[in-house]
Symmetry: C2
Subunit: 332 residues, 2 copies
């Protein structure tokens, strides 16, 4: 099989992944713009439904349901992995450029045996098993020394890039620290060196006291619209105690995270008519797991607007809403 | 009228624009995901067609056609400006956060009186008037001392964020240097301090000699797929002589830029069946207009893929094509 490759953008220092298993032929792009198939039509046979378990290459992790009589969640390798563990992390040069092998890992987390469920509609107990699966898989992949970063994310709906309807999340593990993440950690470090505090803890404290943009709070977590939300209804769910690494989450915190995530997503589902969204767990890169200035959080990014040429050139978002109005609407 | 506001994201140092004229009500987002109107149905009365000139607030610049008997291009204020010149650049604080007034400018460049034309299908002579309009407007806005940055961009098609079909570009002027731009200038400066050369000049020289990813070349410009293209068929059009600022373009270069831009867009139009795309002219921020390490270029970003949760969390793109294959396909 052709090996995957990651190439470094020389002017932004961001990597770009070229995965053979995900490659389309140039001719395929002729049609892409015109006739987009609906998610339903692509799924005559859902690979994640009970009875089709053989369609997955191997089973990485399986968690039973509460009755202990069937699986509730399954972690399987992505059929079209962006990165693979058999590739290398060795850097090579092509003239002035730098590239490396497509090292990493790409798993799918099947969240339920039921095709038509979703986190917004699942029971609290079932969502808790999803979060437990996230945590176990995260801990497992971070045991491998070469893994620098593990990104747990969820794409819900076509506008969010989902290609299957069956409820699922994904975890991509990289052998590099993305510049995107390094930059945020550097900014937090500058802040810490000046103020002696975690910038995320300060944001959390301000939002909690100010309360203008808070959506939900429980013992361990705060959910709020950030002051400079990039898109309408962007929401951050943040542990109230300082915690750099998602891997450090306690059992009580897992239960509280489940509850707040489910409530927030159910609120969005009901008030905005099941919007497409991405969410991602932003957490520490390897070696930053104990740092006093890094703070993990779950970032929910509804896909209600389209980023266009100005965002591409300026990196500045134009948000056609206002965080305070979004908060009022969700709290009504 | 309610004043616009720009807020600083405390963890990325990127600004986010909240413009009252573009604001939707929270309820409006309930429907957005469901029933997207086609561009055609939104345009019973096109504000940019001849006869409807009164629909624009004021005329900023108008260029005649070659026969000198009608207008060919018009620059008018955007009806729903992201930024406005009557706002202030004064920074204010809200607790731990920083915000400023929505200062800037947002114009539309109507590229032709003909509703159904496009740069890919217009005559070379007509496109030349578009580029001349870009240049004159750019020079004009950069005469104002408060204007830090002018971004000329074009959104083509719904997936690229276009809301009107009539051929047009836009120019947004900001009173801040976006962190996105500052970062790129800093990277180029590091490179210059080490190698004594402009990184863009080095990329250009390498691509021109290697020739593997070149799409088109003329006396003044090279068009190529970048080594680490983020999306399929991303194309950079770069002046071959070092030039930091788009404002410095000569008459000969304007003519050569017209030709290469039109050829590249016509190629995409024909080979990929009129794909949606954004393009943006990446150019120097104020005070960087003469710098030896800053190099302007036009970046074309076809919208054939969807950025999802992994890109949101890692800043790493997964490109389902390969730059060399894209180049082969466009050169076939």
């Amino acid at each position: 099989m052709e090996a995957g490759e990651i190439r470094l953008n020389k002017v932004t220092r961001e990597w770009v992944i070229y995965a053979p298993s995900r490659r389309k032929r140039p001719q395929d792009f002729q049609k892409i713009n015109r006739a987009k198939q609906s998610l339903e039509s692509l799924e005559r046979k859902c690979p994640f439904c009970p009875g089709n378990e053989h369609m997955s290459d191997a089973i990485v992790l399986e968690m039973p349901n509460r009755q202990q009589n069937f699986w509730q969640t399954r972690v399987v390798p992505n059929k079209f992995p962006a990165l693979t563990p058999d590739a290398h992390t060795h850097r090579s040069t092509e003239g002035i450029y730098i590239a490396m092998g497509g090292y990493g890992r790409h798993d799918v987390i099947v969240e339920s045996p039921e095709h038509d469920q979703d986190i917004a509609t699942m029971s609290k107990e079932d969502v808790e098993i999803v979060i437990e699966t996230y945590h176990r898989r995260y801990i497992d992949v971070m045991l491998v020394h070469e893994n620098m970063m593990a990104i747990i994310f969820r794409n819900h709906g076509e506008r969010a890039g989902a290609s299957l309807k069956h409820p699922h999340s994904q975890i991509i593990v990289t052998g590099v620290v993305p510049q995107h993440r390094r930059y945020r950690e550097e900014q937090a470090q500058h802040y810490f060196d000046v103020w002696g505090r975690c910038v995320y803890c300060d944001i959390l404290e301000f939002e909690r006291n100010n309360h203008r943009r808070v959506i939900e709070e429980n013992q361990s977590f705060l959910a709020f619209i950030p002051f400079a939300a990039e898109v309408p209804f962007e929401i951050w769910i943040m542990p109230k105690n300082h915690q750099a690494d998602f891997g450090s989450i306690s059992d009580q915190e897992k239960s509280d995270f489940t509850l707040i995530l489910k409530n927030v997503l159910t609120n969005l589902y009901e008030k905005l008519n099941d919007p497409d969204y991405n969410y991602v767990i932003n957490t520490a890169a390897r070696y930053k797991a104990e740092e006093p200035q890094v703070h993990w959080y779950c970032q929910i990014h509804p896909r209600l607007t389209t980023q266009a040429g100005f965002e591409l050139g300026a990196g500045i978002s134009i948000n056609p809403s206002l965080p305070e109005l979004d908060a009022d609407f969700l709290n009504a």
